[in-house]
Every structure is written in structure tokens, then in C-alpha cells.
């Protein structure tokens, strides 16, 4: 049984653009994450290597993954919002939907 939409949603602009962008950023993060897992699993002693300020690769890469997730999220939101606003502006300037 279909319960219908759970709410009335606002118009969703540029779904294809957002979905493509999302998949690209997902790929970037997946490569970083996979690299991290591979080093941890197969060359764990490399993680003891001191990079800077007395911090080793394990700590820098680990914090790096957390911070990268936040930064990629903010970039994604910025680009999506920009595109949504552009399309919205173009639509109101055009007066009607294509």
C-alpha cells in the first residue's frame, strides 16, 4: 500500500547536478578511506612514522579523515546551494518553468 508522500516538499532544484557532484565527492573520500584501511591492515608500522610536531601518520591521517569529511560536506552544500539559487533565479527571471 502506498501512503503517499509523507509531507509536501518544496521544489527540488538540480537533482542530477547534485547527484553527480555527490558521487564524485563520495569517490574522493572512498579513495582516502581505502588508503587508510590498507595501511592499517597491511603496513600498520608505517602509521608510527612521525609527520610533524611529534604527531604520527596514524593520528594525522585519522584526524585528517574526520576533518576532510566535514570540509567535503561544506563544499558539497556550498555548491548545491549555489546551483539551487542559480536555477531558482533563472526560473523567476524567465517567469515560468521550462
Amino acid at each position: 500500500m502506498d501512503h503517499g508522500p509523507n509531507i509536501t516538499t518544496g521544489k527540488d532544484y538540480a537533482p542530477e547536478y547534485k547527484s553527480r557532484l555527490g558521487l564524485r565527492l563520495f569517490l574522493v573520500y572512498s579513495i582516502l578511506y581505502a588508503g587508510f584501511i590498507i595501511i592499517n591492515a597491511f603496513i600498520p608500522r608505517l602509521m608510527a612514522f612521525i609527520l610533524f610536531a611529534g604527531l604520527n601518520l596514524a593520528v594525522v591521517y585519522g584526524f585528517g579523515l574526520i576533518i576532510t569529511a566535514i570540509v567535503l560536506g561544506l563544499i558539497y552544500n556550498h555548491l548545491c546551494t549555489k546551483k539551487e539559487q542559480q536555477m531558482q533565479a533563472a526560473e523567476s527571471a524567465g517567469g515560468q518553468k521550462p
Binding site: M1, D2, H3, P5, N6, I7, T8, T9, G10, D12, P15, K18, S19, G22, L23, L25, F26, Y29, Y33, F36, I37, N40, A41, F42, P44, R45, M47, A48, I50, A53, G54, L55, N56, A58, V59, G62, F63, L65, I66, I67, A69, I70, L72, G73, L74, Y76, N77, C80, T81, E84
Partner: protein, 635 residues
């Protein structure tokens, strides 16, 4: 129990429970329709939803489990933090907006709307229930462990207490109240974890964490074969026991039995103090040779040696986050390693002092077998866990359901990003809280889950009371979210899947959901009591593995592969669920529960993801290709 009960902690704890119930009753008056009950009417602001996401997600496993695991095993515990956060990337970039666009209540609703295929909703409902229950068990077990020291009550009372409060919340108010409970709890958790981290850095590192910290004794003696001589006056050696980790010596002094670790098994030796829990043949249990009430089993954890710029020091004073980690990396920490054996009719559980270099603690391999003593299977086991954490998050029912509470796809995205910021920030703090607990003389060796609250107690009873109350609220909030998801699954998916011809009214549906919530709550209570003592983080990892195997392939493929068919989805959910649960049941960790030695388990993997996730994807693809002409997606 080695810590006393605090009236302030109990008072604050009660205040938080009452506040949670008050919020619940307040929103109960506002949510009568089923949309309100299941999805909070889609009216939650994204900011609130984002923090509520964090509140949902930072469950007992994160706060109690990860901090405890770092305190016991160093960096390996932090790997859980990284995996748990990485999962949100999948949720944000792949799932959040497309699934919100489908505009349904649940994962099963979305599948059903696309395929109109009998059985699909039933299957999705069952997998939602299975994942929720696997996730509920560790929360209930965690609740039980928490009330033991906090309120001085037995474990089972804690489990029943949590279960009853949550049943009340869910049965009265639904999604809106659980959202606000999570929002408040999530905010408090992050703020107070930050305060705790400041306190840790402000105190710095020290070889003697506090004035009351235990002074470890050592004895000089001579071992020659089975003969031990030269012990200080008053001591007599009554037994020895050799293990792979060394020789242990049992002494008696004025009627008190203690065990010591010998520095070697022959010649002049030093005997180092250990901590023990011994169970004698008549069932009586002694803690360090004394009955429980004498509280002789002390808290431990200190630095054996601190090196700052090449110089040995006793304490560092205030540190910044970077210098804290870099000094720890050059120093040496006293860890306590456990061995179990039986000697002279006694079951001995013993922890001996084990100095470990900081550089060893801050790299992988203390818990996960990826370094010394590792094999390909043990390495794959680790990879499998990390894969399940990465792909499981986005498929967890209580995460998915939260996408339906915001008004639009844009709000879904924004609340996910806010969740990532809040959760990521918290997970960075877990490393400092865990290492702080490891080195502050607060560890209760019998319960790793209590490391973070006990660390807080080190900084004052008020902080302990607040942190304990928040930890308890954490359990309450997560359990409510999970029970809501289960109730939704039953009311929408199972009931509709079975009685397809009878259209239920809104009111009937809410009543069924409430009954389902109560039933799930009772099941969770029973399982929480049965699984007492099972590793909480391990159980959470399993819930992720099942979600990643059963739900994730179906969600991703319906969103991104046009050839997906209903048969493919049903087969993939079924295969993913059965295979992941099956591997878990036959794994080394579960083997002892069936009376089989861990080494004799039928499957050497503990974490099923690396097998079950690809197989589930393959099943979906193959079955979809084979059935593409029979049922076509109507999107």
C-alpha cells in the same frame, strides 16, 4: 564495585529522566495523526534534526564503548570513531537527498512505491526489525552496566528501567518527542565532552595521576625450581602458575592471598603486584584477596615514564592538543593485561602491569590483529569491520527514518552536514577522553564501558553526575529512536504486507505502532538481560554489518541502477540478511555461547561484511538481470 554511589549523580540523573518524560508528554498532545507520529509531520527544522541525528548516532557504543576501547587498547578504539564518521559520507553524498525525494515514511515504503510488488515491503520490514533489534541489544546491555555503579542497582533492573521509560516515551508521543530528546541530549553530550577534554588538557600528563592513586608494591625473592625463598618477613609463597606471558606467584600474608608476576622464572627475581578476582570452589569471590565490600580492587592507569624534549619528567602541567599527543607518543604508559587460569581449585582472573611505549599505543594493532601475530584472515576481519562501518550507517533504520522528519531534500542535506560536523567534532574528542582515561588512574579493569564517566569523576563529582546522566540519556534516546523505527516497520510494513486488502485508518495504524513499540521494548529488555556482559562494540559492529548487507545494496541500487527489479531487491535483502546473521552465528566470537571453543568456529571471520555485502550486491544484480522482463520499475 569499586566506586561509591553519589547522591548528586542520582539527583541529576532523576532530573534528566523527568525532563525527558516531560518533553514526551508535551509533544504527545500535539501528535495525533500518523504523519505526526511517524515523521513528526515533516516539520522539524534542519538544525534541530542535524543535532538529533548526532544524538541518535552517538549511542552508548560511541560514548561509553569507544572511549573505553581507547582507554584499554589505544589507537584501535579510535578506528571505530573514524569508521563511524566515514559512514556519514555515504549517507550525505549518496543517500540523503535521493531518498528524501522519494518522499515516503520508511525504506520499505519507498521500495513499495517503486515496485508495487507483493512481499517486498514485508521483506524490508523484517530486515528493519532485525537490524533494529541487533542495535538495541548493546544499548540495553550498556544501560544495565551504567546503572550498576550510578545507582547501585543490579544490571537487570537497569535494563527494565530503560525499557520501561522508553516504551512510555514512544507509546505516548512518537517521532517529534524522540527528535527533541535527541536534540537536547546530542547538544549536552558534545558540550560536556568538550569540557571534559579541556579538563584533561589542563591537567596534562603525570606519573602519579592523583594523591590517592595506588602505590604499586614489589617484592624481592629467589626462585629455584619450584622453591621460592627470600620473601620479605610475613609473606609465604603458597603456589605458582606458569603461563605463556610469564610466571605468577601466589603469596599469603596475614591471611590475605595475593598474586604477583615474577620478572623471570629462575634466580633472583622481582615480584610485581597484580590485580586479581578469584572465585573459589565454593563460589565465593575475592577482589585482590578481600571481599567486595572492602573495596580493595582499586582503579588503575598511569604513565610509567614521561619524556619531554628528551628529558624525563614527573608531570607536564597544562598541554595543548598537539603537545598532549606528541608527548604521549614519546612516553611510556602502564597498561594492565589480563590473563585467566585456574590454580589450586580457584578460578583466577588476573591483570598484570604491562608497560607499553606511547608510540605503540598511538598506532594500530593493540586490539585488531593487524601487526604482531596477525594472519590474512585477521587482517581481512579488520577490513571487513571497517567496510561495514562505512556502508552500514546510511542503511541503519533509525538514521533513515530521520530523513523523513525534515520538510525538503535541501533540509535533509543540511541536517546531514550539521550531523557530520557535530559527530566528527565529538569523535576527535573521543581520542583525548580515551587517552585521558588510560592515564588518569580511573580505569575499572572489569568494565571498559565505564572509562569516560569515571574519568569525569576524577574532575569532580558534579561532572561525573552530569556525564553519567547524559550517558544514560544517550541510551534512552537511541533506544527510543530504534523502537520508533521498529514500530514504524511493524505498523507500515509487516501489517500492510500481510493484510494488503484491508486499508487501515490512520488511528488504527498509530495504535498498531504503539502496541508494536511496547512489544519491541519488551523483546529488547529480555535480550538486554540475556546478553549481559557481551562486548557492546562488537554487537554494534554486527548491527552495522547486517544493515550494510541487507539494506544498503537495495537502497543504492534502486537509487542508481535503472534495471533493478523487485525480485532482485527481495533476493538481495534476504541473502544479505541471512548470510550476515549466519556468519555471525558461526563466528569465533559467538562460538563460546554454543559451547564450542573460539578456535573451532566453523567460520574464522568475526565481521561478516566483506563476504555478505558483495554477495548481496551480486545477488541483486544477477536476479534483476534474470527477472528484468517480469517486473519493471515504474520510475
Amino acid at each position: 564495585m569499586i566506586y561509591s554511589i553519589s547522591p548528586l549523580a542520582i539527583g541529576l540523573f532523576m532530573a534528566i529522566v523527568v525532563a525527558v518524560l516531560a518533553i514526551s508528554v508535551y509533544f504527545a498532545r500535539k501528535s495525533s495523526s500518523s504523519t505526526n507520529y511517524f515523521a513528526a509531520g515533516g516539520t522539524i527544522p534542519w538544525q534541530v534534526n542535524g543535532i538529533a541525528f548526532a544524538g541518535d548516532y552517538l549511542s552508548a557504543a560511541s560514548f561509553l564503548g569507544i572511549c573505553g576501547m581507547i582507554a584499554f587498547s589505544g589507537y584501535d578504539g579510535f578506528l571505530y570513531s573514524i569508521g563511524y564518521l566515514a559512514g556519514w559520507i555515504v549517507a550525505l553524498f549518496v543517500i540523503a537527498e535521493p531518498i528524501k525525494r522519494l518522499g515516503k515514511y520508511t525504506f520499505a515504503d519507498a521500495l513499495d512505491a517503486i515496485f508495487k510488488f507483493p512481499g517486498i515491503r514485508l521483506m524490508a520490514g523484517i530486515s528493519t526489525l532485525v537490524v533494529s533489534i541487533f542495535y538495541l541489544i548493546p544499548q540495553m546491555v550498556g544501560a544495565g552496566s551504567l546503572v550498576v555503579p550510578l545507582l547501585g542497582l543490579p544490571h537487570w533492573i537497569g535494563v527494565i528501567g530503560v525499557g520501561s521509560i522508553v516504551i512510555f516515551i514512544v507509546a505516548t508521543a512518537g517521532m517529534k518527542s524522540t527528535t527533541y530528546v535527541q536534540f537536547i541530549k546530542g547538544s549536552l553530550l558534545i558540550v560536556f565532552s568538550l569540557i571534559l577534554t579541556f579538563a584533561i588538557l589542563n591537567k596534562g600528563l603525570s606519573t602519579k595521576p592523583s594523591a590517592e592513586y595506588h602505590q604499586f608494591e614489589s617484592l624481592e625473592a629467589t626462585i629455584s625450581g619450584d622453591l621460592i625463598s627470600g620473601l620479605p618477613a610475613g609473606y609465604s609463597a603458597t603456589d605458582t602458575h606458569a603461563t605463556a606471558t610469564g610466571l605468577f606467584v601466589r603469596t599469603e600474608k596475614a591471611g590475605t592471598i595475593r598474586w604477583w608476576k615474577a620478572s623471570s622464572d629462575n634466580g633472583p627475581v622481582t615480584l610485581a603486584e597484580t590485580l586479581t578476582i578469584t572465585t573459589s570452589a565454593d563460589g565465593s569471590i575475592l577482589y585482590n584477596g578481600a571481599p567486595r565490600e572492602e573495596q580493595a580492587f582499586y582503579q588503575v592507569g598511569h604513565l610509567d615514564r614521561i619524556v619531554v624534549d628528551g628529558q624525563d619528567v614527573d608531570s607536564t602541567g597544562r598541554l595543548n592538543p598537539i603537545s598532549y599527543l606528541s608527548i604521549l607518543n614519546q612516553s611510556r604508559v602502564m597498561l594492565f593485561s589480563e590473563v585467566k587460569f585456574s590454580a589450586g581449585g580457584e578460578q583466577v582472573r588476573l591483570w598484570y602491569q604491562n608497560p607499553v611505549e606511547g608510540s605503540r599505543i598511538l598506532r594500530p594493532g593493540m586490539k585488531f590483529k593487524v601487526d604482531e601475530g596477525s594472519s590474512l584472515v585477521s587482517k581481512l576481519n579488520f577490513v571487513s569491520l571497517m567496510l561495514a562501518l562505512f556502508l552500514g550507517t546510511a542503511a541503519l533504520p533509525h538514521v533513515l527514518i530521520r530523513y523523513y522528519t525534515v520538510p525538503s531534500a535541501k533540509d535533509a542535506r543540511k541536517s546531514t552536514i550539521l550531523a557530520i560536523i557535530a559527530i566528527g567534532f565529538f569523535y576527535i574528542l573521543t581520542l583525548f577522553i580515551g587517552l585521558g582515561a588510560m592515564t588518569s588512574g580511573v580505569i575499572d579493569l572489569t568494565d571498559s564501558n565505564m572509562a569516560a564517566p569515571l574519568l569525569a569523576r576524577n574532575f569532580g563529582i558534579l561532572l561525573f553526575a552530569i556525564i553519567s546522566a547524559i550517558a544514560f540519556a544517550t541510551v534512552l534516546g537511541t533506544v527510543s529512536g530504534l523502537i520508533m523505527a521498529s514500530a514504524g516497520a511493524v505498523a507500515h510494513d509487516l501489517v500492510d504486507g500481510i493484510f494488503k486488502k484491508h486499508k487501515l485508518t490512520d488511528r488504527q495504524r498509530v495504535i498498531i505502532a504503539k502496541v508494536a513499540a511496547i512489544a519491541t521494548g519488551i523483546v529488547a529488555i529480555l535480550l538486554g538481560i540475556i546478553f549481559k556482559g557481551v562486548n557492546v562494540s562488537f554487537l554494534v559492529g554486527l548491527a552495522f554489518a547486517i544493515a550494510a548487507s541487507a539494506n544498503f545494496p537495495a537502497i543504492v541500487m534502486i537509487l542508481f541502477w535503472k534495471k533493478t527489479t523487485a525480485h532482485g531487491v527481495v533476493a538481495s535483502i534476504l541473502v544479505g540478511m541471512l548470510l550476515s546473521v549466519g556468519i555471525i552465528m558461526l563466528s569465533p566470537t559467538m562460538a563460546p555461547y554454543f559451547g564450542v571453543a573460539a578456535g573451532d568456529a566453523l567460520i574464522p571471520l568475526d565481521n561478516p561484511g566483506i563476504v555478505s555485502i558483495p554477495v548481496s550486491f551480486l545477488t541483486l544484480i544477477i536476479v534483476s538481470l534474470l527477472t528484468k522482463k517480469k517486473v519493471v520499475a515504474n520510475t
